[in-house]
Symmetry: C2
Subunit: 380 residues, 2 copies
């Protein structure tokens, strides 16, 4: 096990009706920027509950955050926040809204000239942020309990992340009830997103960290159990609650303590979303098996352990097949052709971007432009 620092100060308020608990946690004198997406919060009851909880506190609404939140949209919110001297950001929605809120909270107090620097430096220039609270409506990204955010810029077809201790939410409400009306596609995406968050921290090389391994397997086994149940029966609130809590623990930074991490699948996936508009989870479901196959000899020991403990199979190859079949079984295609994307072109394009940036990811730092070419060709 490698040395690590673990610090997750986010307060989780979990369960039906917990939205009312935001009231004592937002200062009475707060001037709130209330950030949301396409308006689903007006249909799932979240908006009404938030309004009731905020009571007489003044707030400014900023709706319209899109999936893969856009830099330009966020900068409009930053303008509002600065003009109105906002001092608290409340985000209600899925990972995109939460990620946008984090960027807005950091960019509002950023003193540099160009807030895109926050993303270009992956958060290095972030010295502070407005306090953030969230009400999660879509279990998937883990953004409700970490310091990560991913922002897109359509004009340059870029999708970059930043990480900062300053943007951990002060509190996050997780009420499974409000996820009941989620379309199946979002649930399917959330299952895959959470699943791959775990594997990015687990399917690497053995690191003498048996507790982290077993915690990762606990989350994966639970997702395999409750994910399909959530899809099958939208009224199964028990399954829904466990799915929600699994997605949070998949990326609240606990599983990655003291172990090597991969993240190549995510980084390649971001490029596919930027280039072809595939859903984030769709890109993960495609790329994951390319990365695993490309790195099979290095990852074999962990894939075998994963296969043995989670799928009750004995080989790395069977573990991969089981996982791909699981994704397919919840309606998630796993080949580029399934999304109408030409693999040769995608391999060329993404690999060119990796080359231009000099990027290399993966637990061994060897997923570079050449590796990406091979990985995406494997996913035709």
């Amino acid at each position: 096990m490698e040395p690590f620092v673990y610090h997750n100060p986010t307060e989780i308020l979990f369960g039906p009706g917990m939205i009312r608990e935001i009231a004592p946690r937002i200062p009475q004198e707060a001037k709130i920027l209330w950030v949301y997406g396409g308006g689903s919060i007006f249909r799932n009851g979240v908006a009404d509950q938030v309004r009731a909880a905020l009571e007489s506190r003044p707030y400014i609404e900023f709706g319209g955050i899109e999936p893969n939140p856009e830099f330009v949209t966020c900068m409009r919110a930053v303008e509002v926040a600065r003009r109105e001297s906002v001092n608290f950001v409340l985000a209600t929605g899925g990972g995109s809204v939460l990620d946008a809120a984090k960027f807005i909270a950091a960019a509002t107090v950023y003193r540099g000239e160009d807030p895109w620097e926050i993303l270009r430096t992956h958060g290095e220039v972030v010295a502070g942020a407005l306090p953030i609270g969230t009400v999660l409506t879509l279990p998937a990204t883990g953004s409700e309990a970490n310091g990560n955010s991913v922002i897109s810029r359509r004009e340059t077809r870029e999708k970059l992340h930043f990480t900062s201790v300053h943007v951990f939410p002060k509190f996050s409400v997780l009420d499974p009830e409000v996820t009941r009306t989620l379309p199946a596609r979002y649930v399917r995406n959330g299952i895959v997103d959470a699943f791959v968050h775990v594997t990015e921290q687990y399917i690497t090389r053995p690191a003498n960290a048996p507790l982290q391994d077993r915690l990762a397997e606990a989350v994966l086994a639970t997702l395999i159990d409750v994910g399909p149940r959530t899809l099958r029966d939208p009224s199964d609130l028990d399954a829904r609650a466990s799915f929600m809590w699994s997605a949070t623990l998949a990326l609240n930074t606990l599983l990655g303590c003291g172990v090597p991490q991969d993240w190549a699948t995510h980084m390649i996936g971001h490029e596919l979303t930027a280039l072809y508009g595939m859903d984030h989870a769709e890109t993960l479901a495609v790329v994951l098996f390319g990365v695993w196959t490309y790195k099979l000899s290095a990852k074999r020991a962990k894939l075998e352990q994963f296969g043995r403990r989670v799928w009750s199979v004995v080989s790395a190859e069977e573990a991969m097949r089981k996982t791909e079949a699981f994704f397919n079984s919840i309606g998630m295609p796993t080949r580029l052709r399934d999304y109408g994307v030409d693999a040769a072109e995608a391999a060329r394009e993404v690999s060119a971007r990796f080359r231009a940036h000099g990027w290399a990811f993966g637990e061994d730092g060897d997923i570079n432009a050449n590796a990406v070419q091979a990985i995406l060709e494997l996913r035709r």
Copy 2:
């Protein structure tokens, strides 16, 4: 799954050499009360590393905290802290020292007349505390990452706990290197203590919380793996590190989120320590199987799941036998007679105390005086 609030703001600094990281985390202007126990920190290198890290910050040493920290001793420290206007408490040691530091931190700023009220009310009267930092030398209690503390009072043969959000450490250093010189008895105790912390939150009744179940099983399976390795080979730092991290996660309040909790074994155990001076872990190893046997029909489903997933056996009875054999295998006797304690007398005495206080514990609130009588008679 039941609604819950989860908030664990303690920053964990894990790994060799991490003691130096306390420097930037203690304010330059801090006036520190440095609390420790019997002096092992002067032999295991902790004291030297702490002194180097504190640099020029003024500190007052308060050593001599005993196992099962004594109210009277803590109150002497409170006197010093008040007289010297201390504004930071640094604890270096095992659970006893950390528990003492928490009580000292709370009692120093307590405005009531009798700080024993903090314990009598189990923390209800705690409205604040001095900030606390810890350097853990003995993996066992989980005190390094929770808001719990247990204090004893010899004159009245009482041992009471309190819980408060105000006494979560700001940071805790977990350096497995400094645990290398621990006597086997402390390691054995730590394994059992951590193990029973998990079972108190897991072996209850099914609660539709499959993720919490699997996380609990992950910690138990890891303890069964690395505990004996730590005992067998004191130089196995990998095992030692995983043991240390397992003991922290066993009681950092994560496993108990949204599930019923038992704690009857601990409450009965505290009385045995107060009456007979048994080590805390020894009392747990004795009482646990009494509670499980007494509540067998209610706990059967969870014991069977535990048996199947952790011990690869099929019945609740076999799971109990396996667990008891595990404790015995690491040198931990599990019967009252092994400690020279007369079961009939202990049953009578502890049960009388439960009756006097009107206590009832356990996930169903039915471990009252009569139950205690039966439970301890089972452990003759």
